[in-house]
Amino acid sequence: MRLLETQRLKKYFGDTHAVDEVDFSVTQGEVLALIGANGAGKTTLVNVVSGLLPPDGGKIHFQGIDVTHQSIHQRIEAGIARSFQLVNLFDQLTCLDNIALPIFSREKKTRRLMALADKDRAVREEAMEVLQQFGLAPKAAMVAGGLAQGERKLLDVAVAYALRPRLLFLDEPTSGVSTREKAPIMDIITSIVRSGKITAVVIEHDMDVVFTYSDRIVVMHEGKILADGSPDEIRRNEQVTTTLLGTTVAP
């Protein structure tokens, strides 16, 4: 089943065709890797689909419904969530509150002015559980601004995950951390995504990570989709290896 589908989606920045009439689709239940060189249009595609940027043309359907002109808020309610490449957290709030907020929001409790947030045991427990899953439980009371980079990347994903989305976009979840830290982070994220039966689109540069963790790979190049297939197909695709992979992967 197609969860998300874009038709001739366009986003131009002046003469740069960041997303150039892209037909992109995500199937229910898969972990899809979106790869491509810097400037290929991956993040722009996610920005348009998640509602951060308005498209210059084309359509976006989510679960069969046209969401092209919906607000960010409506798309979140429909079940689209995202994390950010450059970590976007609530730095002065504790890790627990960073997770509690999306839960309150999901349950429409952020409208409550006259109730103490800390007294909502159900939300606190769920937030603790999410932190536990991401291995961040010991940091619950710490302000997010005080975390190490690897922990910040995880918390960024956890904030999006706490919305319990149907479709989760992860924009370079392991960028800016050391090579040694990448695998553990991806292990945590993929196991949570798979056990939660969440469909995920992961933007990633590290080819080892991509081939290890994804079901399907979509390759973007200069605003267009260059190739689309299973990790094996992409590995064998000569056009991809010459334009993109180069020497990053041993044959």
């Binding site: 998640s50 808020h73 957290l89 609530f90 730095d91 709030l93 929001s105 999901r106 002015l113 947030a117």
Partner: protein, 324 residues
């Protein structure tokens, strides 16, 4: 919470016995301080918790002050509760409209727009003489408290000074306690967390489903109402309202006392309001160049304590504990 109570109960007790410990003039100064503290609490919901610096909060304080004055002028009303209800109602209307305009912008644009709107009200109060008496202002006589239930044992022998330094002090104190409690709940509510999230990271707040503009608007409304309520309490204490209270320099004072106390803490603005008020009163009494003196003191305080009085006190306390 239980830890906080250890500080709160002694402070509350001190405030309760204050009129018996201090001369009337000092008690009245304290009333002014508590009233400005309510305004600062409202103002800080925007600055400290939502990350919006309003340079126009004199507007809501002023509307809150003029509302009882109009009640007296046109209806001859003399009930304090009616004054407060009118103050709340009119500031809610004005801050809903002004807020709707202002929250479309952030940072300096928000600050300047809020300032400009407050100046519109100031010029109206100045020019619409038939309504406001211009710079002559409007008088507000002593009202009945709680529909006459809280009348004085002195009866008709009670002077204005007795009233202000005793019965009215307790009335202000009760409203102050209530405002502190309500604001404390608001900033610790899920709504309050959403505001702090907006302050920290607007984009991410939007992406966890917080409708940033709407929440800012509600925060603006709540902030305006608190400040307006303070205005209504103030006008009875002052006995007179003139357009001065709508002028932008008064907005500046609200900003100043909040920063002075420390806008990163809940109690900072309260402390700042009381301290600023005493500072100002004594500077005026000390020298005709009081503005110069006040300015100099404030510059020194801000330079040496950028996190405000309470923020600095916190830092010192933490350092002492670590050393011990």
């Amino acid at each position: 919470m239980t830890r906080n109570l250890r500080y709160l109960i002694p402070i509350a007790l001190l405030l309760v016995i204050l009129p018996y410990a201090l001369p009337p003039y000092q008690t009245i100064l304290f009333s002014y301080g508590l009233i400005f503290a309510i305004a600062a609490l409202g103002f800080n919901l925007l600055l400290g918790y939502t990350g919006l610096l309003s340079f126009g909060h004199s507007a809501y304080f002023g509307v809150g002050a003029y509302a009882p004055a109009f009640l007296v002028k046109y209806f001859g009303a003399g009930s304090m509760e009616l004054f407060l209800l009118a103050g709340i109602f009119f500031t809610a209307v004005v801050s809903a409209v002004f807020g709707f305009i202002c929250v479309r912008y952030t940072r300096i644009f928000f600050a300047i727009l809020a300032l400009a709107l407050s100046q519109v009200l100031w010029s109206l109060a100045l020019k619409l003489f038939w309504l406001t008496n211009g710079t002559d202002g409007l008088r507000v006589p002593t009202p009945t408290l709680l529909g006459g239930l809280a009348s004085d044992v002195l009866g008709s022998a009670e002077t204005k000074l007795d009233f202000l330094s005793h019965r009215y002090y307790y009335y202000v104190l009760a409203v102050f306690f209530l405002c502190v409690a309500v604001m404390w709940v608001i900033v610790n509510s899920p709504f309050g967390k959403a505001l702090q999230a907006i302050r920290d990271n607007e984009t991410r707040a939007e992406f966890v489903g917080v409708q940033v503009r709407r929440y800012r608007w509600i925060a603006f409304l709540v902030s305006g109402v608190f400040t307006g309520l303070a205005g209504s309490l103030w006008v009875v204490l002052n006995g007179l309202v003139t357009p001065d209270i709508l002028y932008w320099t008064f907005s500046g004072e609200i900003v100043f006392l909040t920063v002075l106390g420390g806008f990163r803490t809940f109690a900072g603005p309260i402390l700042g309001a009381v301290v600023f008020n005493f500072l100002k009163a004594y500077a005026v009494g000390f020298t005709v160049y009081w503005q110069f003196l006040l300015g100099a003191v404030l510059v020194v305080i801000v330079l040496s304590m950028p996190t405000g009085i309470l923020g600095t006190a916190n830092t010192i306390w933490l350092r002492l504990r670590r050393a011990a």
